[in-house]
């Protein structure tokens, strides 16, 4: 009976792993394959594999598109959005995590609203709103847009972090004469730093990958990596080029996700709580 159950568990685990591998690895592998199709040889039915593999498409795209500028745009936007979102989310997250007040649940629900609105709908009206309030800078426009859309994530993650801060440590720090800075550094920061790190990465990745706001507010001349990707989808569909851009887009995100995962493991707050 015991052995059967164990076997069953192992079976389920293996099955899950296979599904996950197919789900995650296969598309990535296909994208890699498509990105390596040589421009002089096509890959079409009935070939199972491309006739010739090469990286020639990559420098070609780098030279013929605004990829370089788009990457600069995407990542500088991402960095600005991340810092702004973090700063804006902190006070709200603090309130949700540490203060009891009337209507807290309603307030929490309201801050989550931007998550459920379809990106394009927000984008279309938001771009006209930006012009009517006199924000003509594309960079600033997209940045504000991203902040609004990504704030729910940041608030959500950070309020959990704030709620895990131990009140007795805050009290002890104050009691031992610590000022504002000392309390933040020794009572808050050790607990919330993993939340801050998670927020930074989630917001950065989502901002870099965001399409609808960047496309509508940025078009026609302000391009980000996802808007370049769009050029190769839809009407002028070039799968090979799209594959290259998606890999360029996904690469850093995957690295960041792995970093985040390791970081969260290392900074597991449960390991720090101690007794009492």
């Amino acid at each position: 009976m015991k052995i059967n159950r164990r076997r069953f568990n192992t079976g389920v685990l293996v099955a899950m792993l296979v599904v996950m591998l197919v789900w995650m690895i296969l598309p990535l592998a296909l994208a890699l394959l498509w990105a390596m199709v040589d421009p002089d040889y096509t890959w079409s039915y009935p070939d199972v594999f491309p006739q010739k593999l090469s990286f020639r498409r990559w420098p070609m795209l780098w030279e013929t598109t605004t990829l370089k500028q788009s990457m600069i745009n995407s990542y500088s936007l991402g960095a600005a959005v991340t810092v702004m979102t973090l700063l804006l989310a902190m006070p709200t997250a603090y309130a949700f995590g540490r203060i009891e007040f009337k209507g807290k649940n309603v307030a929490r629900l309201l801050t989550l609203l931007p998550m459920v609105l379809p990106g394009f709908v927000v984008a279309i009206f938001f771009s006209s709103l930006l012009i009517s309030i006199g924000v003509y800078s594309r960079f600033l426009g997209i940045m504000i847009g991203h902040c609004i859309v990504l704030l729910p994530f940041a608030i959500r993650i950070l309020s959990v972090s704030f709620s895990q801060v131990r009140q007795d440590l805050i009290d002890a720090a104050k009691d031992l004469g610590a000022g504002w800075f000392g309390v933040v550094r020794h009572a808050y920061l050790p607990t919330i730093k993993s939340g801050i790190f998670a927020t930074l990465i989630v917001v950065l990745i989502r901002s870099v990958e965001e399409f609808s706001l960047a496309f509508i507010i940025g078009s026609p001349d302000f391009t980000t990596v996802p808007t370049i990707l769009f050029q190769y989808l839809g009407y002028a569909y070039i799968r090979t080029n799209a594959a290259v851009i998606s890999l360029i887009l996904a690469g850093p995100s995957i690295i960041l996700m792995v970093l985040l995962e390791r970081r969260l493991e290392l900074a597991n707050p449960a390991a720090e709580v101690g007794k009492g």
Binding site: A172, K174, D175, L176, G177, H186, P190, V273, K275, G276
Partner: protein, 360 residues
């Protein structure tokens, strides 16, 4: 070493008074205990003294200076937390000198103090460890060392021993007392453990429902409880509803209770005709003679041998006027092997019976 004076302090949470109109005076170098059941307001009072709660009314003076609204970081008090509240990311030494660092004390003086307190609490080999590598008892020592290092005039203890096992608790109890006498700080100690309070305190403030209901030395509190709550909370007591029959001589009264008729010798007269009385289990003495006053015969309901004494429970259901079923407790220090069902005769000296509050 400081004096503390709390005058008519109330702390309110919404409509609920956590403490109401509480006044206490603590002398220099005194060890006082705020004793009471959970929810009696003792921790709230401690937090008002340390500055975490600003009183709604009343004032708090430390060494004659009004500190009612001074924040905790600028008060000459240090708190020893029930949870120890050690910083998990700092090692033992860093935890102990945390407060000194906040004061920007120079490194040499800091290390001197560190060396001294570490020696006193016997933590020499643990300095580089982090709190979660320590046992509960060791964490408690670090918390104590951190408070001692601050050299505050008043150290506030919020049930500091409640997370330790019984044996360790007793040991640390004595160590803390020694340290307190040595350093001479004024100690305000919150606990719900009456034995801790009796063992450690110069004076005890018994609290209930946000008020101080009795203050005095452990001896006074134990010997002369003001009401049945205090009598039953500190130590064990057999309390009875009684009716005062008459006074036979100056300071001697005859009363009738569920046990039967009793003679009470009390310097203070009863407050009412229908009154609560109590006597401690250890006041009972086995006796041969049955003619004396306050002598009763009973059947042992339960006998628990404790070594130095025998705890006896007597189920009373036939004596007296009140017929509700209850039992009372005797602690017999005489060497007698007693067991369930034995017939015993015991006497309670009239001086051992106390008048408490009037029956409502």
């Amino acid at each position: 070493m400081s004096t503390l004076s709390v005058e008519a302090v109330s702390v309110r949470f919404g409509d609920f008074y956590a403490i109401r109109d509480v006044s206490i005076d603590v002398h220099q170098g005194e060890f006082v205990t705020l004793l009471g059941p959970s929810g009696c307001g003792k921790t709230t009072l401690l937090k008002a003294i340390s500055g975490f709660h600003v009183p709604d009314t009343g004032t708090i003076h430390i060494d004659g200076v009004d500190v009612t609204t001074v924040p905790p970081e600028r008060r000459n008090t240090t708190m020893c937390f029930q949870s120890y509240a050690l910083f998990p990311h700092l090692n033992v030494a860093e935890n102990i000198v945390f407060g000194l660092r906040q004061q920007r004390m120079d490194g040499n003086t800091r290390n001197e103090i560190l060396d001294q307190v570490v020696r006193q609490v016997d933590l020499g080999t643990q300095l580089k460890k982090t709190p979660n590598q320590l046992s509960g008892g060791q964490q408690q020592r670090v918390a104590l060392a951190r408070a001692l290092a601050m050299r505050s005039g008043i150290i506030l203890f919020d049930e500091p021993l409640s997370n330790l096992d019984a044996k360790l608790r007793e040991q640390v109890r004595f160590e803390m007392l020694e340290l307190q006498k040595e350093h001479g700080f004024t100690a305000i100690y919150v606990t719900h453990d009456q034995s801790e309070a009796l063992a450690m305190s110069d004076r005890i403030f018994v609290m209930d429902q946000g008020n101080v209901i009795q203050r005095g030395t452990p001896w006074e509190i134990y010997q002369d409880p003001v009401n049945s709550f205090v009598a039953e909370f500190i130590g064990t007591a057999n309390t009875f509803d009684a009716r005062v029959l008459d006074s036979t001589a100056a300071g001697r009264y005859r009363i009738t209770t569920a046990m039967g008729e009793l003679t009470v010798a009390s310097p203070t007269p009863p407050k009412a005709e229908r009154i609560k009385v109590c006597w401690r289990p250890e006041a009972a003495r086995l006796t041969e003679a049955s003619g004396e006053d306050n002598t009763f015969s009973a059947t042992v309901g339960l006998a628990v041998f404790q070594g130095n004494l025998t705890d006896i429970l007597i189920h009373e259901n036939e004596h007296g006027n009140d017929l509700h079923h209850r039992s009372y407790r005797l602690q017999i220090f005489q060497h007698t092997n007693l067991s369930r069902g034995d017939e015993i005769t015991f006497r309670i000296a009239p001086e051992e019976i106390r008048f408490l509050e009037a029956v409502q």
